[in-house]
């Protein structure tokens, strides 16, 4: 399998951190700006495809990736089940209760007619279980898409499956 030219490698090295940061930004600010868990995870999945193409068949530890993926999904289900403490499955029990972790309140925005339109400035730790679920789904989607890309990449590049 012919090696990628050093130009591609250096560009990937430079842009890896930037794209990764951008993906994390999209995940963490899911409840404030457009984006969210799935979108950010897909961006980082694309980054893994770039890395795999640039540096050839890489020995990724599949066990670690599967563990990350499962923890993401379990945290997602966990927050859903925790909502049961207040009687409803998937109830946002942290939102708007001024609990310092994720409970801070929006500053309301202005009312037009009787509809409150959101203001742009909102605290990051503001929307309770939505942020937690954003991160959980983000984690899960990152690991899932990386697994798919790595499995198929190894299948195509090396003709057999060596990553363990």
């Amino acid at each position: 399998m012919k090696e990628m030219s050093p130009i591609v490698k250096t560009i990937t090295k430079i842009s890896f951190a930037a794209i990764f940061l951008f993906g994390l930004y999209i995940i963490l600010h899911g409840h404030l700006t457009p984006g969210g868990g799935f979108q950010g995870g897909a961006i980082i999945g694309t980054l893994m495809a770039l890395y795999l193409v640039a540096f050839g068949a890489v020995k990724w530890r599949k066990k670690v990736l599967s563990i990350i993926e499962s923890t993401g999904l379990l945290v997602f289900i966990g927050t859903g089940l925790l909502g049961l403490t207040t009687g409803y499955f998937f109830f946002n029990f942290i939102g708007g209760t001024d609990n310092p972790i994720f409970g801070q309140q929006l500053n309301g925005g202005e009312l037009i007619g009787d509809v409150a339109f959101p203001s742009n400035s909102a605290p990051l730790l503001s929307s309770g279980t939505i942020s937690i679920m954003n991160m959980a789904v983000g984690l899960e989607v990152i690991a899932a898409l990386t697994l798919i890309i790595v499995t198929m990449g190894l299948f195509a590049f090396a003709g057999s499956e060596e990553g363990e």
Binding site: F38, A42, I149
Partner: protein
């Protein structure tokens, strides 16, 4: 102000025709790698179209998955099979 709405509509129609054009290109190309690139262009334009229609979340998802991952997987598939389409 009128000029901007005209520009906006013109951009909107160009993107729509671009989507249809690149989709036709995907079918026309014999060389599969260029067909995949045309497919990536098509999904990029669809993502731009979502953005024009004020749906940024879907635009990000479509751009990342459509242009990024689908193209990567298709190219992996082409790598392990023949590169040209014959019938």
């Amino acid at each position: 102000m009128e000029f901007f709405t005209f520009l906006y509509d013109a951009l909107h129609f160009m993107v729509l025709f671009g989507i249809v054009g690149s989709a036709l290109l995907v079918v026309k190309f014999k060389d599969l790698v260029s067909a995949t690139i045309a497919l990536a262009a098509c999904s990029l334009l669809v993502s731009l179209e979502f953005f024009i229609l004020q749906a940024p979340d879907v635009a990000i998802a479509e751009a990342a998955v459509g242009a990024g991952l689908t193209t990567a997987i298709l190219i992996f598939a082409i790598k392990s099979t023949r590169g040209r389409e014959e019938y």
